[in-house]
């Protein structure tokens, strides 16, 4: 087991290095050089030359990259051009927003998708099965931002049941020790704030979770169908065990295995969908941050933010792999 983990951890290094090189090159390939971005429009070629020399931009690129790696290792990701704050500070504030949204979306997807898929499999071929299949297909066919707009329009504007933007009512003066607003409310025993944060999460979570919901439902259904026809299940049934116990002890547990692999893959979908959802609901998370950074030509944010996200993404996949390896010993040997 340990060897498995170590092997996967070692894989992490070249991947992250590769991503950082890619980002480094990408940022430098974006229209507009760093000198232009910082110096004045009245800068003369001489001033640009001086700037480049001062900031080490005339050194060979691998030397620059090494210097960049050193500052990044120290934890300094630069300063945002748009907000004039350190990138790391912005990440500290915005990352929890996206994570909270992703968690809420995932929770929604699991809470609805798992039972949906399971029962569709149990009622294979019946109306429930067909309709759940159709529903999940629609789930992946609706663009996330379109669904977000519809939800916002119906439940916020027309019905007024839920708030339309942001993470928190602007008037609530709540403390945020963790940065996860729902958790913060609970931790500080500010129940109104916690509930307010939940209300702000409901619509975005549904919009963002629609695709994972559909996928989880389908995969659960497929794997439940597979497991149901397996020998050990048939044996258990032949033994005379009550169907409900068979379901719980054998079918469910094994059917959920493929779902855990899928969860890891969902993170990428969630991050991409977060950009769109956060834009529609004006949530100050990583998604909307990166989108604005592109329009504002905020290179430090792009470089630092995307690198951070890639790191998180890879780590999550690693954790999922480890978890899966834990659950399913056969994988460890491959």
């Amino acid at each position: 087991m340990a060897r498995f983990v170590v092997r996967r951890l070692l894989l992490l290094v070249p991947i992250l290095l590769g991503v950082s090189v890619l980002l480094f090159v990408w940022v430098r390939a974006l229209p507009g050089t760093p000198a232009q971005a910082i110096l004045g429009e009245r800068a003369t070629p001489a001033a640009i030359e001086r700037f480049n020399r001062q900031y080490g931009l005339t050194r060979p690129i691998h030397v620059q990259y090494w210097a960049y790696m050193k500052t990044t290792m120290r934890g300094d990701l630069g300063t945002s051009v748009a907000s004039r704050r350190p990138v790391t500070t912005e990440i500290k504030e915005r990352f929890p927003a996206t994570v909270e949204l992703a968690f809420a979306a995932m929770a929604f997807a699991l809470l609805v998708g798992l039972p949906l898929g399971f029962f569709a499999a149990k009622r294979y071929g019946q109306a429930f099965d067909h309709s759940s299949l159709f529903l999940s297909l629609i789930g992946i066919s609706i663009p996330v931002f379109f669904l977000a707009i519809i939800l916002k329009y119906v439940f916020s504007v027309k019905l007024g049941w839920l708030p339309s933007i942001g993470r928190q009512d602007v008037l609530i003066d709540a403390e945020h020790p963790t940065g996860f607003y729902v958790l913060d409310g609970i931790v500080t025993r500010n129940w109104a704030a916690a509930w307010d944060a939940v209300q702000h999460l409901i619509l975005p979570a549904i919009a963002l979770g629609s695709i994972p919901l559909a996928i989880i439902a389908r995969v659960t259904r497929a794997s439940t169908l597979d497991v149901q026809s397996e020998d050990y299940v048939r044996t258990a049934r032949a033994k005379g065990l009550a169907p409900r116990i068979v379901d719980r002890r054998h079918v469910l547990r094994n059917a959920l295995l493929p779902v855990t692999t899928i969860i890891g893959l969902q993170v990428g979908i969630l991050l991409g969908g977060a950009v769109l959802t956060e834009t529609v609901f004006a949530i100050p998370g990583m998604g909307s941050w990166l989108k604005e950074a592109i329009f504002n030509h905020d290179y430090p944010v792009l470089q630092g933010g995307i690198l951070f996200l890639a790191f998180v993404f890879v780590m999550v996949n690693l954790l999922v792999d480890i978890a899966y390896g834990f659950i399913n010993p056969r994988i460890r040997v491959s």
Partner: protein, 303 residues
């Protein structure tokens, strides 16, 4: 980037010897979902191709006098889908939008498919060092979430329709490369390949003559599903403002962005392009789904 990526994991190891096409076709026709999907897609393709002939108006012609009472006149006999904020006929715009979506889907998938298959063939065919390099490259690409990767490519090339197509296409490369590599690896030890190798057939011929034809089915399924996600992702990128920079372009994603500002007075402006996207994407997903069920050896026993 969603279903194709996920399901790609599953179809890697499924392959058919040729000759079962007829049975596949028969099973497909028995699947009501696939038929509906086929109808949707056919409708979409026909509208896209014949838009200039069947659209009642030009998609860019403005008729500002229609907006004298504010925005915007809803569906009527003269304008069955209403009129947009610049006095343009919405129905014609939705029809022309189909052309953009069709081209976008085809181009992105072709780009992703060709590059992906090439890389997959190299990785699987040559193995060893080439394999690890290609797979590490794919891992790096997959380390960046799909939409963000597309955003990254677009910001490099500048916003616009062509960069968006390239970006979406490139983002599908890992799916296809992994697919073909898996198919090759899966078939490497089969009897006919071993037999061919023992006779002395060259690696390249084995690849093109045996392995590739047998890998076509998962590629077709992945390709269909990739079309679906390509259309959605381009709409998403358009919504973020990275698509066609001319706001009068009748592209569904751009139209959805513009419609957002008129939601309180003219919600139909968002409804029609949105429904169009959903229907077309649903169509491709239904077909892809149907194909996969039709080709799945495991399900063969059940039916």
């Amino acid at each position: 980037m969603s279903l194709a990526e996920v399901e790609g994991v599953r179809i890697e190891h499924e392959h058919l010897p040729s000759g079962l096409w007829r049975e596949t076709g028969r099973r497909l026709l028995r699947n009501p979902g696939a038929i509906v999907g086929f109808v949707f897609v056919l409708l979409f393709v026909l509208i896209a191709i014949f838009a200039p002939l069947i659209a009642p108006y030009s998609p860019t012609e403005q008729n500002l006098s229609l907006l004298a009472d504010g925005c915007c006149p809803g569906p009527s006999w003269a304008h069955p889908m209403g009129v947009d904020e610049l006095g343009r006929d919405e129905l014609s715009r939705v029809m022309y939008g189909a052309r953009y979506s069709l081209v976008i889907g085809v181009v992105s998938v072709t780009v992703g498919l060709s590059i992906g298959l090439l890389l997959g063939a190299i990785a699987g065919g040559f193995g060893g060092f080439a394999d690890s390099i290609v797979m590490r490259a794919m891992d790096i690409m997959l380390a960046i979430p799909g939409l963000l990767l597309a955003i990254g490519i677009v910001s490099l090339l500048g916003p616009g329709l062509v960069p968006v197509m390239i970006a979406v296409g490139v983002a599908t490369v890992p799916i296809f490369s992994r697919l073909l590599r898996g198919a090759i690896l899966g078939q490497r030890d089969t009897d006919y390949v071993l037999a061919a190798q023992s006779i002395g057939v060259r690696r390249r011929s084995i690849l093109t003559g045996h392995i590739l034809p047998n890998s076509i089915s998962p590629v077709i399924v992945a390709g269909t599903l990739a079309m679906a996600t390509a259309i959605i992702d381009v709409a998403g990128l358009g919504f973020l403002g990275l698509g066609p920079q001319d706001p009068s372009t009748p592209e569904w994603g751009t139209m959805l962005t513009n419609a957002n500002s008129y939601l309180s007075t003219a919600p139909f402006l968002a409804l029609f392009p949105g429904l169009a996207v959903v229907m077309v994407v649903l169509g491709f997903n239904l077909i892809g789904d149907g194909l996969r069920e039709a080709l799945d050896p495991k399900l063969r026993g059940r039916l």
